[in-house]
């Protein structure tokens, strides 16, 4: 099995799939515009005034993104961009729909979310245009580590306490920023670079103990540091979700890099231990766990809790949902209806059917990311892709699982759908990096001089 044979086949066979992407993009824009029209009809009885402009705007953004991909990443995965466009578009419709409820904060969130989405797509395009090869990121391994630490610790010093969690940084004049969203990309870069160098040491230099391969103490060091930092985030910023994401991503990448199951066992032990420790000593986290175990219990003030309201929203949606604009997810109230709880609106208004469709769109997106990781040819690209896809999958699971009561609720946003500038910008950047890796992976090598050997190989294959 020679690499020449592979490239030869690829150079002839790999279609760019850009036209597929264009058709799928058109479909995504169409679904979004129809959802917008549907919501307007339900809420106001007329088609929304801005429908044409909104439709053209969305089509324009999607079209621009498509053209840039066509020009700068022609072999990139054809499904990721349409899937993200669909999720982002649906998210905008839902936020616009919730803007109609006067008591929900922040008021009038859709226009600013549209602006953040445009900024996100701009960043997406910027990454595709200026990051010509993802391996460049490898050079910034240790700088990434420093940046990641700074980003993670930022809320501690400049943070604003919101909803019990300290994950926001207030920038005067601009608004609030959630550094964690950006940190997860930077950390993935650091882990990928670090593990690529250290994987052999971690995988091979180990002792057997109870049938498991245990790492040497000096190799264990960085892992314990990561564990400590994630616990610190948990304790000091009471950000259960980010801590879980951070640690989960590390375990996944470590496992992929070393191919050692013992790391998973080790990682799980550490995270479970940490979680139990924190849950029993931190009031806020303990409260979340209590709410999870007793979702319908009345709050301490005798009112219905947000957790219960979200459950009622899901239950009331039933199989087919109330229809866009006709649900009562506003009853969830608080400040998170448009962000953390956006899935409750999906569940109530689009029903079980709609919610499953949305979850499957996420699943498809994750699957495309993991496929990119499998297809990538360089270890750094593989690790980075699996890390980014893994962290995305974990985030989807932690948010959706938390809102539906599968696991305790954590304050995190559903990628692309939820209201929040940091999240949408960071996730567009994440997708851009994945697209870049997939472009590199599927890009045909320069056509080698035709050799009779290669042709013969082809014949044999056929």
């Amino acid at each position: 099995m020679s690499s020449t044979a592979n490239t030869t086949v690829a150079s002839v066979g790999t279609p760019s799939r850009r036209n597929t992407e264009l058709v799928m993009l058109g479909f995504a824009v169409l679904v979004t515009v129809l959802a917008y029209a549907n919501t307007g009809l339900a809420l106001d009885g007329t088609l929304p005034a801005g429908m044409v402009a909104y439709g053209l705007g969305l089509a324009g953004i999607a079209g621009a993104a498509h053209l840039v991909v066509r020009r700068w990443a022609p072999y990139a995965d054809p499904l990721m961009l349409p899937l993200c466009t669909l999720l982002n578009g649906l998210g905008l419709v839902l936020i616009w729909r919730l803007d109609h409820e006067p008591r929900l904060q922040p008021a009038n969130a859709a226009p600013s979310q549209l602006m953040w989405s445009a900024l996100g797509v701009a960043l997406f395009l910027g990454v595709l245009i200026f990051l010509r090869d993802h391996r460049v990121l490898q050079r910034y391994t240790y700088i990434s580590m420093v940046v990641a630490f700074v980003l993670l610790l930022l809320p501690l010093f400049f943070g604003a306490d919101t909803n019990g969690a300290r994950i926001w940084v207030r920038i005067p004049g601009v608004g609030t920023l959630q550094p964690g969203e950006f940190a997860k990309i930077v950390i993935a870069v650091f882990f990928a670079g670090y593990l690529m160098v250290k994987r052999d040491a971690l995988a091979l230099a180990s002792r057997r103990f109870l049938g498991m391969y245990l790492p040497r103490g000096r190799d264990l060091g960085p892992i314990l540091v990561v564990w400590a930092v994630s616990l610190m985030i948990l304790v000091l910023e009471t950000d259960l979700g980010m801590s879980l994401l951070f640690f989960g991503m590390f375990v996944v990448m470590l496992y992929v890099a070393t191919e050692r199951t013992s790391w998973i066992v080790f990682g799980l032990l550490l995270s479970v231990g940490g979680a139990v420790f924190v849950a029993s000593f931190n009031y806020h986290v303990g409260q979340r766990v209590h709410n999870w175990l007793n979702p319908l219990e009345l709050g301490s003030n005798g009112g219905v809790t947000e957790t219960a309201q979200a459950m009622y929203a899901f239950g009331s949606g039933g199989l087919l949902g109330s229809g866009l604009g006709e649900g009562y997810s506003r009853l969830i109230g608080g400040i998170a209806t448009k962000s953390d709880y956006i899935l409750a609106t999906v569940g109530e208004e689009l029903g079980l059917v709609g919610l499953m469709a949305v979850l499957l769109v996420y699943a498809l997106l994750i699957q495309r990311g993991l496929r990119t990781a499998l297809a990538a040819r360089d270890p750094f690209g593989k690790l980075l892709a699996v890390g980014l896809s893994g962290v995305f999958a974990l985030q989807v699971f932690v948010v959706a699982g938390g809102v539906t009561g599968l696991i305790p609720l954590t304050g995190m946003t559903m990628p692309f759908m939820a209201q929040g500038g940091s999240s949408v910008i960071a996730n567009w950047a994440l997708i851009a990096i994945l697209l870049r890796i997939s472009d590199t992976a599927r890009r045909p090598a320069p056509v080698p001089a035709s050799s009779t050997d290669a042709e013969q190989t082809q014949v044999v294959r056929a």
């Binding site: 992929v256 899901f314 239950g315 009853l331 979850l359 270890p379 699982g401």
Partner: protein, 487 residues
């Protein structure tokens, strides 16, 4: 690296699978439970999203709906003569839920009932605003007004039924409350609600005494005791003399005696007729003592004691318990541990007036869809036959004699056969509280008896005289009967 990556992919797939299973559980299996959870506000939002159907008396609605500018609940319930009708309608409040007819027929009134599915679908297809169906009651507005105004400022209850069908004609209770006062969900509604609760108002205006409270029945229970004597063959007819002395010595006691209220009127060894005429305790103490607890329970139960009655609003359970001999004897004059609702006392008179046939009491004639189609129609049902027709007619004569020539005279209506019985029931520890004055009666026409009515009024004068039943309660019973006869 590909092998662990495939495992990671499988793991991510499992995460998604877990999510899909969870949402299926929540939105499909658990959905019904969550949709109807008492704390799920959508239930109330939907209930008040459309004008509520009405409760109807004599062809006129006694309820209504007005549109409000609230964010969640668009329509609010209104009541005309709310205080008067509250024992019938119950309340439907945005903030405090609903009870009685408003609650039992919530599905019909909101239009949500399965039986209204067709009309609901038609409305949806034709784009008409959804309306609720209506609940047509058996009540008689004139009788209800006579009862409510007759009670006035006193504490008391009135229940009137049509003995021929069991249809409830009046159901009044004072002090009452106006359900309009807390139909919404504002601050004034909350205050009105709080002020009506037992902690704030010991008179419990929301108690609905006619149906939901039991009182010691006092001498009105002597009708049941008389029926028991005749049905069990202890006495052959109402004019047969007995051998019960005055004062009556309770069985199995060391000479504990019970006196009579009215002296020197022939109670000594008197008949049932005399006993009813002058409310002689000795006659009925003796009958109850001779029949024994078991036979007394049997007759009481045939009149509807010891079970609740769904009218469809569930009544309190009137009771005639197992007891020892002296207590059982005293229960025969309604002064022991037996208790009765005004509805139950009216049922006793109704069974006698209807020649021994007791009809099941009910207050909802029919349920109607928004397009006035009848969804459900009540059919009068026989509950039991506590008396043979001959014994019933004999008791009628005795009761009518009591009105003509006895203690029940204040209820006399010229030109109409009226039978009645007074009563006074003492209550409270050592009988310290104001006694209850009772009156139960029926009117008879050529078409049978159209009304039997029971009235209980708390007598603030504290008179222990049996006559107070005639003085306080009989005029109310009389005006209720006149209202029914006149309509």
């Amino acid at each position: 690296m590909n092998k662990p990556m495939r495992r990671v992919a499988v793991f991510c797939g499992l995460l998604i699978l877990a999510l899909l299973l969870r949402v299926n559980y929540v939105q499909f299996i658990q959905a019904g439970e969550l949709q109807n959870d008492e704390h799920n506000r959508r239930v109330a939002i939907e209930r008040y999203a459309h004008p509520r159907g009405d409760i109807i008396v004599d062809g006129e609605p006694i309820t209504g709906s007005i549109e409000t500018d609230g964010t969640d609940y668009r329509w609010k319930r209104t009541y005309s003569d709310g205080e008067m009708w509250a024992p019938v309608t119950g309340y439907a409040s945005q903030a405090f839920g609903s009870n009685q007819l408003e609650s039992i027929y919530d599905g019909i009134l909101t239009g949500d009932d399965d039986r209204l599915f067709f009309s609901r679908t038609i409305d949806m297809l034709t784009g008409k605003e959804r309306k609720g169906g209506s609940v047509v009651t058996t009540l008689n507005a004139d009788a209800q007004r006579a009862a409510f105004e007759g009670l006035g400022d006193r504490r008391g209850s009135v229940a009137a039924i049509d003995p021929r069908t069991g249809a409830i004609l009046a159901l009044a209770s004072t002090p009452s409350y106006d359900p309009s006062d807390f139909a919404g969900m504002g601050n004034s509604d909350a205050e009105a609600w709080a002020s009506l609760q037992a902690e704030a108002d010991p008179e419990e205006p929301m108690k609905n005494g006619a149906l939901r409270e039991t009182y010691p029945p006092g001498s009105t229970f002597k009708l049941v005791t008389a029926a028991a004597a005749l049905e069990h063959g202890l006495l052959d007819d109402v004019d047969q003399d007995t051998d019960y002395e005055v004062p009556f010595e309770l069985p199995e006691t060391a000479g504990t005696t019970v006196p009579n209220q009215i002296q020197n009127v022939g109670c000594e060894e008197g008949s049932i007729t005399v006993g009813l005429q002058w409310s002689c305790n000795n006659v009925f103490l003796g009958i109850s003592a001779d029949l024994g607890n078991e036979k007394m329970i049997e007759t009481a139960e045939s009149f509807g004691f010891n079970e609740y009655h769904d009218t469809p609003v569930r009544s309190a359970t009137s009771s005639y318990p197992e007891d020892n001999a002296p207590q059982n004897a005293q229960a025969g004059i309604g002064q022991a541990s037996n208790r009765a609702t005004p509805l139950q006392v009216a049922m006793v008179a109704a069974a006698i007036a209807n020649d021994g046939k007791l009809m099941e009491p009910y207050m909802v004639e029919q349920l109607r869809a928004p397009n006035l189609n009848v969804v459900e129609q009540h059919q009068p049902t026989e509950l039991s036959r506590p008396l043979s027709p001959e014994n019933a007619q004999a008791l009628q004569e005795a009761m009518e004699y009591t009105v003509e020539e006895g203690t029940a005279e204040p209820a006399k209506i010229s030109g109409v056969r009226v039978g009645g019985k007074t009563g006074t029931a003492q209550h409270g520890v050592d009988n310290q509280e104001s006694p209850y004055a009772w009156f139960v009666s029926y009117a008879m026409t050529d078409d049978g008896s159209p009304v039997a009515v029971a009235v209980v009024v708390e007598d603030p004068s504290g008179s222990r005289e049996d006559i107070s039943g005639g003085r306080l309660a009989a005029p109310i019973a009389k005006s209720v009967m006149e209202a029914v006869l006149g309509s």
